[in-house]
Symmetry: C2
Subunit: 902 residues, 2 copies
């Protein structure tokens, strides 16, 4: 038979709570913390907890208590009476109880509590006699009646509106009127009623809504904790309060919090009186009740050391004596959390590994971007997907050209589009933030904005853009170009007008933590970057290489874009070659700038990838402008545009398919790349050996074909320059077929880089351009837990990566393996990459910090045993840095990189 | 040291050719057939063959002969002199030789031959004396000089133009003039020159072009066969000819062929004289040379029994004596091949299994459709992809409406479109054939046309359609609507005007062969069909169930299409429900018709799958017509059309995503299905239990959700009708994620059906709508061997199927497994399905015959040993029918099907 009841602080009885039963899952958060505090010898009012399983039983059996519960409660209460030296229902020194709920995961204020239970017409007299304070006793009685009536008997609060606030009798009469029965005088009837009511409160609408909102399971139920009452309102030496072991905004190691003298906890929560500070200048607890304060400070230190996290502690002081009612870890701000973790590790309260693991990697993102001042007023217009963090205010514009023009004139602008295309890039760069009404988390706007570090909201379908009219419509309000809006890229919210922001600063504690993280990780962290500015930023953030430079993104300048368009719209190889000849010096210069900026780093450059028509003028006006600028034939342009149109461009003529069907494109790119590498090497004196990456290969033959093309160009460059350019050649794994046939591909490729965006698209058969509304609907309906373009899909995409990794390594043991899709900065994906023992992850500059931390966490968690508290548990390994696996493969790779083409 | 030379018919010497060396790979096709005929004791002129490896050696070493070759040739020639009783270069009875090439795979007429070798100014006199015919001898000499000069010495044929045809001296002078050297008189010099010339002819441009065209390897080389000459032109009792063991057009078992009296083989090939028939009414070989004819007939029977295939035999008769020069299997017409195979099996020459295996399954397709009369004249306009077989002539029309109107008026029409959409279906049905200028082998036009059995050519990019003008342009010629064209769906060719066709008839031999095939296969064959007509046709073709009824294809009638469009364009669930209420009786009736037509069969119905916008009016005119017809609001229609537009519809909001986000659609379909099943059951008295199939699932959760929807509808129908409808529920596996997570899906699904079209699309990241030009280019460049939408991709798609099958069976051992994509009728895919031990394949009606044969071949080939010739080899099993694997799983499945929902 299960044990339904666990007692605490009843002499030696608390020892009965075995450590495995001290969990929040069994006892609820409150019950577990009481059991643990009691075990530490801290002053908690004695009591017992009925386990969460009993709740599940009661709910399943239509309110019936499980067999054995009654007997266990009676036995526990008997022990409690003994410990407290008071009798439940006793006429003299009556034992009064609090009955509180406590779920495994805290749901503050959502479920029910009954205080002062055990009072009736007789025992109130005993309390009055015992306390020597009749007013106090009858006040307690009156509060108990009202609380019990509303919580257990379902009497509406309004029914007490006419009662004089201090008349217990009037309250009893109101209950009788409302229920048709006298208020229960039997303390045991009161107790069972309260216990049942707490169980049933699990199902109340508030609690259900809270669970739905926070993604908590409906199963589980609440525990019930029954405790001897302590009274913060007993006299002037009594008080109630909440203490934080550290400052929750800054993390400073200073006991803080607030208290109310002569009050019960509920008054503090209700906020009707202004609480006083625990420490500081005047009317502090430190000065008012110095002994209790010292006890609290000692308890706080003990608890922080026990839990290894900042704690929030509820306490009551009765007649100068401190009682702890609950402790729990709190969620300080991201900056504070880091400071706390670092200081706890520095004081050897926790290990460095535990400090690393304690920080949610995604929270670092919040430290890098300005954010809305929480105190500022807001006029909310709607919400989209939070695609890139940070907050930005500015005048809205509907075209990239206007964004550039206004920005040049010194104005702060937000670029608002239905969706963006590569044509918009300079406009996006000029803007403070980007808002689109279509697209998902990996749409063009989202990816580019994250790369640039621009706040961005995408897929804000509640808003409508009419670019022709130059209007944004939201909730019936119309905003013309130039209207000022504010975007919160962290929440996805759009506000009218300007909302004040707070600028961030990277703290020394973060640098310390990331230094530890670097020592603890095996995975290298690279960056997806194309410009020297991005590279410089990524270097500051601690990146160790470029994992993805999208060569097609290096043609943003007008001259390159024009040449590129002439190339695409050429009707034959000769026209393409002429345009490519014009493009060559521009590309070479861009590559050289990149190599110089990334000196000392491995640099992976991906060959031209995008579908050609993505680079074409969009719409009639842009087409006319192009024709005027390029002198092209309008009919030919129209024909080529029609020819290049595809029903499903994502499944179209792109990636290496372009380079194979139009070999002159890749030949020109390879020449620009290799010449730039030699030039950069000559300028810097440092070795430059680009990793040239082939996009969208589905077969080994494609990789071989491109390899022979590039080897040919390299031979030509070598004979012209008198020096052999160094490079290696690999491919993206972004098609399911490539993953399954990885062995075939690895025979031709020196490295693989997983393109998880495309793998997700084709695994799910979902276009990232169109999927947002469907995925939102699917999340709402519980079909999927999360958007697979955001949350890494281990079962589908991960499975493919595992297959590809295994098959690739069989064919080529020294294969270099990385990831460069959006998930390269996703902590869960990074953990998975660690499981697969990939060599590196690559992500946008602003996610480099996240990746460093996540890689360290993954490394630590992959160890056989993780130490969390300094000095606890027998550690198998002292250092947090895991041993490097596959050292021979690493050596083979190093050898391979010394060869010009591996 | 390798053996370079193998002799044949030299007394017992032919025994020296070990069976493993009698292969075409070693001896070339000709040499191998001579060795084998010699081994059978048939009359072949004695000789020897130099192996193909010697050719490779000579080509690799710049023309030098390998060590040992010379000695072996000399030894073989010495034995040949002994056998022939004549001496090489002898003044009396000189031995004359033929030197012929012979590659492993026959390349008719591509390489060189020298006859009458060994003649010179002396030996010609010996031949004259020996034959008693000086004119014959000098004629031989003259022919030898001309042949040797052109083949070995590189003298142009024109150089002999001025020579009197019968003057050997003039030929010798011409050679001396052309080469500056006297014609070689030494027979050994002649022989080595001829051997080297034959080897080198492997590299001549004709031969290289032939190999490129036929996909033959450049490696391999040719063998050289040196044989004693026999002379069909020696006297009136001499002749040369070619015999077929059967009639190559009909397969009738009757020796046929033709011959030329008093002639050499080259004259027959050159076609300058009219040959005479071997058998028949007059001037036949049978009557002219009855003894030789009888010998030939016996030899033909022996050879057919030996090879188990129809043979084409080259022969020469010298002075009444028959000599066989070569035998090879020939490629009779598809109909003939079947008749021959069946008769060979019936006469116990080969086993039934061998007869089944001998027929190329795809060849059956040619028997089902009218085809162009090979004798008819053609005016070719261009070529597209041969999407559906058969030939059709008719007046071209550019709209479905015109196709229907003209067809109603009794005209034969061809529907010509850039591409087709579901709106065109009735027009396609009305047309004799379909031609599109865009799309690939699995485009809408191609799939629908194959299902309907309409000849179809797609992606004919050389032709241009201007539907607005009503014009088709091809090679500068313009064809208006009403112009008559002809389509050859088997070759993809388009012709101007009408080309005569031949109507097919299924032969009794085919029925016999397919009966044997049915006994030999384990895989069931189902059909993809939606109409009673298609079901009836498929039943005639031997289908055993419906593997795929596309419910969205059952809304072709105008009333259904209108209701469907109202449903799609509705702005909320109520509007959708109203439209679905109108659609319900139409759907129910269509389902009922299908169930009645398919009585006794398992029937898989797929729930609504297509992207919604595919069913919308396309273009402005159609939209206006819909608005007029439906009374819909034009603004709302425009809004909905814009809302439903997707950048990549193939990766869009379709399949079960529709049914989950608009549950009313699947609920209405399930109701129509289950009510129809009960109605059909009541009408027919036979049990009807549809297999309801969910399209495009990526997760188990989707399957569960749809299952609970359908179970709910079934419960409602059961309570209304007082009878529980029987059904089972399964899903398509057409997404990579579904394949990898098959275990999860199988827990909710009773069956899987592989949708290889979509699997191919997403595996390769290639849209079938756009891919044709790229894939053609890829084939041309040798990147891929074949279009993966046509030729099953074992490495990619097959690998996924294998994973899904294994994982699905672990989760549910009784899982029913089939394939219903385009590859369901592809022999290679069917062989793969047999390897995976799937339960059935499903294909379009016209591919059912192919599937039956291919399934039988796969079953036979999966047996440990295949018997090919009756009575040969120790057979492990007498019956061609393989044993059924997994009998327990089959029983479990049968049990599962008896339950209403498995």
């Amino acid at each position: 038979m299960p044990q339904w009841v666990h007692s605490f602080n009843l002499g030696q009885a608390d020892r009965a709570v075995a450590p495995e039963n001290r969990s929040a899952k069994v006892l609820g958060g409150k019950g577990a913390s009481l059991a643990r505090m009691s075990g530490l010898g801290l002053p908690v009012p004695p009591g017992f907890t009925i386990v969460t399983d009993a709740c599940a039983h009661v709910l399943a059996k239509g309110g019936r208590f499980p067999r054995g519960l009654e007997a266990e409660v009676k036995a526990a209460l008997a022990r409690l009476e003994k410990t407290a030296g008071a009798r439940f229902g006793g006429a003299k020194r009556p034992l009064l109880l609090s009955v509180r709920s406590g779920a495994a995961v805290s749901m503050p204020g959502m479920m029910d509590t009954v205080l002062n239970l055990g009072l009736n017409d007789q025992t109130v007299l005993g309390l009055a006699a015992d306390s020597g304070d009749a007013e106090f006793a009858f006040g307690c009685y009156r509060r108990f009646i009202a609380m019990y009536a509303t919580v257990v008997l379902g009497v509406p609060e309004e029914d007490f509106a006419d009662c004089p606030p201090d008349a217990a009798r009037a309250h009893l009469d109101a209950v009788a009127r409302a229920t048709g029965h006298a208020f229960p005088q039997d303390p045991w009837e009161q107790l069972w009623g309260a216990i049942r009511a707490v169980f049933l409160s699990w199902l109340n609408p508030r609690a259900r809504a809270y669970r739905a909102l926070h993604g908590l399971a409906e199963e589980g139920g609440t525990a019930v904790t029954v405790q001897a009452m302590v009274f913060g309102n007993r006299d002037a030496r009594s008080a109630t309060g909440v203490a934080h072991t550290r400052d929750p905004m800054t993390g400073e190691n200073r006991l803080g919090g607030e208290y109310l003298p002569r009050a019960q906890g509920e008054e503090l929560v209700a906020g009707r009186s202004t609480p006083l500070p625990l420490t500081g200048d005047e009317r502090t607890l430190e000065k008012a009740m110095p002994a209790a304060f010292r006890a609290l400070k000692r308890a706080a230190a003990t608890l922080e050391a026990e839990y290894g996290q900042m704690q929030e502690i509820e306490f009551t002081i009765e007649r100068g004596k401190l009682f702890l009612l609950q402790t729990r870890a709190t969620k300080p701000s991201a900056a504070a959390a880091i400071r706390i973790a670092v200081e706890l590790a520095q004081s050897h309260t926790i290990t460095r590994a535990a400090a690393i693991v304690s920080i949610e990697p995604r929270s670092l993102e919040r430290l890098l971007h300005p954010r809305l001042d929480p105190a500022a007023r807001r006029d909310r217009l709607g919400r989209g997907l939070p695609a890139a963090p940070g907050a930005a205010s500015g005048a809205i514009v509907f075209t990239a050209a206007e964004a550039m023009a206004r920005a040049e004139a010194g104005e702060r602008v937000l670029l608002v589009r239905a969706e963006t295309s590569p044509e918009d890039i300079r406009g996006m760069h000029a803007a403070e933030g980007i808002l689109t009404t279509r697209g998902g988390m990996t749409s063009h706007a989202a990816v580019v904005a994250r790369g640039m570090g621009r706040p961005c909201i995408v897929g804000a379908g509640e808003l409508a853009v009419d670019a022709a009219k130059g209007q944004l419509t939201a909730r019936g309000r119309v905003f013309a170009a130039g209207s000022v809006l504010t975007l919160d890229g962290a929440s996805g919210e759009v506000f009218a007008g300007s909302v004040a922001t707070i600028e961030p600063e990277l703290s020394p504690e973060l640098a310390t933590l990331l230094g530890w993280a670097d020592a603890a990780r095996r995975l290298k962290v690279r960056v997806n970057a194309e410009t020297p500015e991005e590279v410089a930023r990524a270097r500051r953030f601690g990146a160790e290489g470029i994992g993805l430079a999208r060569s097609e993104q290096m043609t943003r300048d007008p001259a390159s874009l024009l040449a590129l368009r002439r190339m695409i719209l050429a009707t034959g190889p000769e026209g393409r070659r002429q345009a490519l000849r014009d493009l060559l010096p521009l590309q070479r210069a861009a590559f050289k700038r990149l190599f110089l900026a990334a000196a000392g780093w491995p640099v992976t450059v991906r060959l031209f990838d995008a579908p050609l028509h993505e680079f074409l003028p969009q719409g009639e006006a842009a087409t006319r402008a192009f024709i005027a600028e390029s002198g092209a034939d309008a009919t030919i342009v129209a024909e080529r545009l029609a020819h290049l149109a595809e029903t499903n461009p994502m499944l179209g003529h792109r990636g290496c398919r372009l380079g194979i069907t139009y070999p002159e494109i890749y030949e020109a790119q390879a020449r620009a790349l290799l010449e730039a590498a030699l030039d950069a090497e000559a300028d810097s004196g440092a070795r430059v050996a680009p990793e040239i990456m082939i996009p969208l290969a589905a077969t080994g033959r494609e990789v071989e074909l491109v390899r022979s093309m590039i080897d040919g160009v390299a031979a030509a460059v070598a004979s012209e320059r008198g020096k052999q350019p160094a490079y290696s050649l690999g491919c993206m794994i972004e098609l399911q077929r490539a993953a399954l046939c990885a062995g075939e591909l690895a025979r031709a490729a020196a490295f693989f880089s997983f393109g998880t965006n495309d793998l997700t698209q084709t695994s799910w058969g979902l276009s990232r351009d169109d999927a947002a509304p469907l995925l939102q609907e699917y999340e709402r309906r519980g079909v999927i837990a999360a958007d697979p373009f955001v949350a890494f899909d281990r079962d589908g995409v991960g499975e493919l990566m595992a297959l590809a990794t295994a098959r690739g390594r069989v064919a080529r043991p020294e294969l270099l393996l990385g990831i460069c899709g959006e998930h390269g900065g996703d902590p869960d994906a990074i953990a998975f990459c660690e499981q697969l023992k990939l060599d590196y992850v690559s992500c946008s500059p602003f996610r480099v910090l996240i990746a460093r931390l996540a890689a360290a966490q993954a490394g630590i968690k992959s160890q056989p045993q993780t130490e969390t508290r300094a000095g606890r548990a027998a550690p198998r390994r002292r250092s947090a840095a895991p041993t490097r696996k596959r050292p021979q493969a690493a050596k083979a790779r190093a050898r391979a990189r010394r060869r010009p083409s591996a």
